[in-house]
Structures are given as C-alpha cells and as structure tokens.
C-alpha cells in the first residue's frame, strides 16, 4: 500500500469561506448557526439553520450560473481553492489520470424544489431546460472535472451523512492501491430550501431554537440537546501519493492514513454501537495505528438524542473508558450538519487540527448528559503540542459508517 497525503484544502462553510477562515472560526468557537427569518418561510417550524454567505455572481457569470445549482457552485469554489492550495499539482501533467470523487446526499435539491414550486404551486408549464443537469447528483463532480480538465474516474457517492467521507476514503483507496496518483475528493450540500427543510422537520430530528441565543441551538453531547441544525457548504481535498508530493516539494497538510467502512444493517435511522465501533476499529487497523496513539476524535456528534449516546458508547468500546479515550469534539455545534458534505468538512477540520496542533471545541456543552461522559473539549479550543494522530467519524441514515484517520506528516 502506498502512503497518501493531503496537499490541498478548500472550504465553503457557514463559518466563512476558505480553509483558513473556517478553521479560525472553529478555534475561536464562532457559530455559523442563525435564525431563519420568519417571513422567509412562514410555514416552517424549523427556526435555525447554518447558511453560507456566498455571492454567486462574484464567482460565476450569468450564463454559467444558469447551469449550476448552488451545490455545484459550492463544490467548484472549494475545488478551485484546494487545487490552488496544492501548488503546482498538475505542472507535470497527470490531469489525464486524476479522478474526482464527490459525496452529496441531496444533489441539486434547490433546483428540484424550484421546479416543483413552479410546476405544482404556480401551475407553470415552464420548467427550466437545464433542470435535470442542475439537479442530478453527479453534477458537482462533473463540473469539477470539466473545469479542471481531469480525465480520470469521476464518481459521486451518496450514502446520506457519510457521503463525502466515503468519497474521501474511496479516493484514498485508489491512490493507496497504486491505481492513481492524484485525486480531488470531498463533498458538497445545499439543502436549505423550503421542501427539504420541511421534510427534515417532519423527521423530528431538528433542533429547537435556543430561546436566548439562536446560534447556540446545536448542543452535541449535552443533556439539553434537541437535535441537529441543517447547514450547507462544501469541502474539497487534493489527495496525492506521498512519493509524488515529496518529489515535487509540495507542502503537505497531513497524511490520510486509514479508512474504516462498516454497515449497521439493522435500522434505517437508529445507529448501532457495534456498527460505529467497527468503522473506527477498521480505520485503526488499516493505518496500523493503536487506539492509544489517537490524540483527537472529531465526532459525528449530531446533537440528536440517538447519535450522541451511541457514538460515546462506540468510542468507549474501541478506546476504553474515559481515562483512555482521547479528547472528542463535535464541530457541528458551530457549523451545523452539512449532510453529504459533513464528512469532508469535518475531515478538513481534523486535518487542520493536526497541522495546527489545536483541537477545536464542542460549543454549547454547558449541561452534560450523564450518558455522554467523555472529554468533549467543551467551549474552548485546546492546544496539544504532541497531537499527531486524529480520527474523524461520519455516520449515516441507512447505516453506512465511516472513520477516517489522519496523522502528522513528520512521523
């Protein structure tokens, strides 16, 4: 197996755009969660979301925008940043063999919602001619390939909330196995439209608004947690074989050392301790890393009743009791749940934590749940000088569990 490193990062997030801005926001404990204006969706009970401040016209002309759903716009901006961040990654060619693997849960959900609204509600027979091309799940990946002339495999993974973690893991496999040298991998999601929010509302998993501070509505691992907050955005990575990256003198963020994939196969929404634990165990085995070496876990930590207690139990099953378990944090408390893009965004946070030796906190954890009894790095970021290895968990409806392991490159 060849070693795989991360040489480029790109982020479009509720905490701001650009990987640096995103990570600074996390470390400072900012929240990208905000109150939905009443007048925007008077028929919604969902009151809080994590939107991205994004000026489409600053990135794309009007002709281009007609072809791009919001989900593809995010993906393209994040991919361009990641490729630029990777330096002269295509200077010696390799565009012919570079692949693009993207994860998304809902694809062009905005286009679908707009089309239905126009057809059903406004009784218009005019459906936008590009609707299919905007809404299709693989549009984001396809546009990245087209814009950057990447002719290798172009695939889209959709396994709900672990979609982009799967995309990154599968890209890792291609490079580790020696099939390809460079991959663009990540995820994008833009689900903040009326129909999608209403559907999530019906599932009874969304957080209620914190009466004192809407931005504090997502409270992972807290006793008073009430559910997840839907967010939008994208994160993209440039993955490269370590030998290639070293040969071209690239700046390396960290190594992607392990990928663990498991399936619950029990219930469509309810997670299992065994399934989550298996994903973590496989990631460790795959990287030949012991549990004791892991210095930080970026949890899936959705702030739903079901997830946080089960994830805590699964972590303890693999890492031992509280004394042996490394610090765990859920950055969803700040950027919300990006569904199909969550895995990529949180893996980016994990890579940056390793690179900067700083663990971002779990915010709004003032009232701990006795069932969630680990060190969740409450409220304030923590500097850990010897932080070298970290794990990022992504679990999904449908039961597809992913753990990604990354470590500092000096090892």
């Amino acid at each position: 197996m060849r070693r795989v490193v991360i040489t480029g990062l790109g982020v479009v997030s509720p905490l701001g755009n650009g990987a640096r801005t995103f990570f600074d926001g996390l470390v400072q404990g900012h929240s990208g969660i905000t109150r939905l204006p009443d007048q925007l969706h008077p028929r919604l009970n969902c009151r809080v979301v994590a939107p991205v401040a994004f000026d489409s016209a600053a990135h794309f002309g009007p002709t281009r925008l007609r072809m791009l759903d919001r989900v593809s716009q995010f993906a393209l901006v994040a991919a361009s940043e990641a490729i630029a961040d990777a330096g002269a990654v295509f200077e010696k060619g390799d565009r012919e063999t570079t692949g693009v693997f993207v994860g998304t849960g809902m694809g062009g959900a905005q286009t679908t919602d707009d089309g239905y609204k126009s057809f059903y509600e406004e009784h218009s027979d005019r459906v936008k001619p590009y609707s299919v091309l905007l809404a299709m799940n693989n549009a984001a990946a396809a546009w990245i390939g087209i814009d950057h002339q990447l002719l290798g495999p172009n695939l889209t993974y959709s396994s709900a909330c672990s979609s982009s973690a799967v995309a990154i893991g599968e890209a890792w496999k291609r490079i580790a196995a020696g099939e390809l040298d460079v991959m663009i991998a990540g995820g994008s999601e833009a689900p903040l439209n009326f129909g999608t929010l209403k559907a999530w509302e019906a599932l009874k998993t969304l957080a209620t608004e914190d009466p004192e501070d809407a931005s504090a509505s997502c409270k992972p691992f807290a006793k008073d947690r009430s559910g997840l907050v839907l967010g939008e955005g994208a994160a993209m990575l440039v993955l490269e074989s370590r030998d290639r990256a070293v040969a071209r003198g690239a700046r390396i963020h960290a190594e992607l050392a392990g990928y663990g994939l498991s399936t619950d196969a029990e219930h469509i929404t309810r997670p299992t301790v065994a399934g989550q634990a298996r994903a973590m165990e496989r990631a460790l085995e795959c990287a030949h890393v012991s549990a004791a070496e892991v210095g930080y876990i970026n949890a899936h930590g959705t702030a739903t009743l079901a997830n946080d207690a089960v994830e805590t139990a699964a972590i303890k099953r693999i890492f031992g009791g509280e004394a042996q378990t490394p610090p765990v944090s859920s950055t969803k408390s700040m950027h919300g749940h990006l569904l199909g893009a969550a895995g990529a965004l949180e893996f980016a946070a994990t890579v940056l934590a390793i690179e900067n030796r700083v663990i971002p906190p779990t915010r709004h954890l003032l009232n701990p749940d006795p069932e969630c009894d680990l060190d969740y790095v409450p409220e304030t970021a923590r500097t850990v000088a010897n932080l070298t290895t970290a794990m990022s968990n992504s679990f999904a409806f449908g039961g597809t569990n992913v753990s990604l392991l990354c470590r500092a490159i000096a090892q």
């Binding site: 002309g61 002709t63 936008k128 001619p129």
Partner: protein, 103 residues
C-alpha cells in the same frame, strides 16, 4: 439577402425596437458581445445552444408578455426571434382588443 439587409437597416434606425430589447437581454443576461448580435446572426454561433434558446424564450415571454407556442417554428437566427416576438405581440394585442370590444 437584400430584403434581410433592408430590414436590418430599418431595425437599426428606430429606437427601442424589439431587436434592441432582445440585443440587450442577450448581451446582459446571456453574455453575448453586443457587436456580434445582428439580425442574421445564428443563435448557435452566439453560443446559444438549443437548450439555452429555451431559456431565452422564457425570458422573452416575461419581457414581452407573450407566450410562444409549443412548436415555435424557425428560431435559428436573431432575426427569426425578432419576427416571432413581433408576430406574437401583435397577436396578443389583437386578442385583447377583441376582448375589449366584445359585447
């Protein structure tokens, strides 16, 4: 060809014509360079493919308060579009006049 040129001259001589409004939309919203938008310019040569033509038609329906038929006929040039718009606008006007005059 002669009639087209004559027509083109006629179009360019009057202000705020259908052609000019169309040219404004194509330039501002479809990023076509103004100088290449001439009555005999083919839409595909302006970068407006068959799907983009549908977007253009939707925009023109809003702009001119008209409705293109399911089969809009020959729309391969800017001139074709202008004729169709003028025809549909006239038809629309006739309809509303008839309605107004109805007993």
């Amino acid at each position: 060809m002669q009639t087209l040129n004559a027509w083109s001259t006629q179009l360019n001589s009057s202000e705020n014509t259908t052609f000019e409004r169309l040219r404004g939309i194509l330039a501002n919203e479809f990023e076509v360079a103004t100088q290449v938008i001439t009555p005999d310019a083919r839409l595909d040569s302006l970068g407006i493919d068959s799907l983009a033509v549908i977007e253009v038609i939707f925009r023109l329906e809003d702009e001119f308060k008209i409705s293109f038929p399911q089969d809009p006929g020959e729309l391969s040039t800017v001139g074709n579009l202008v004729s169709s718009i003028d025809h549909l606008v006239a038809q629309q006007r006739e309809k509303s006049t008839l309605k107004a005059e109805a007993p």
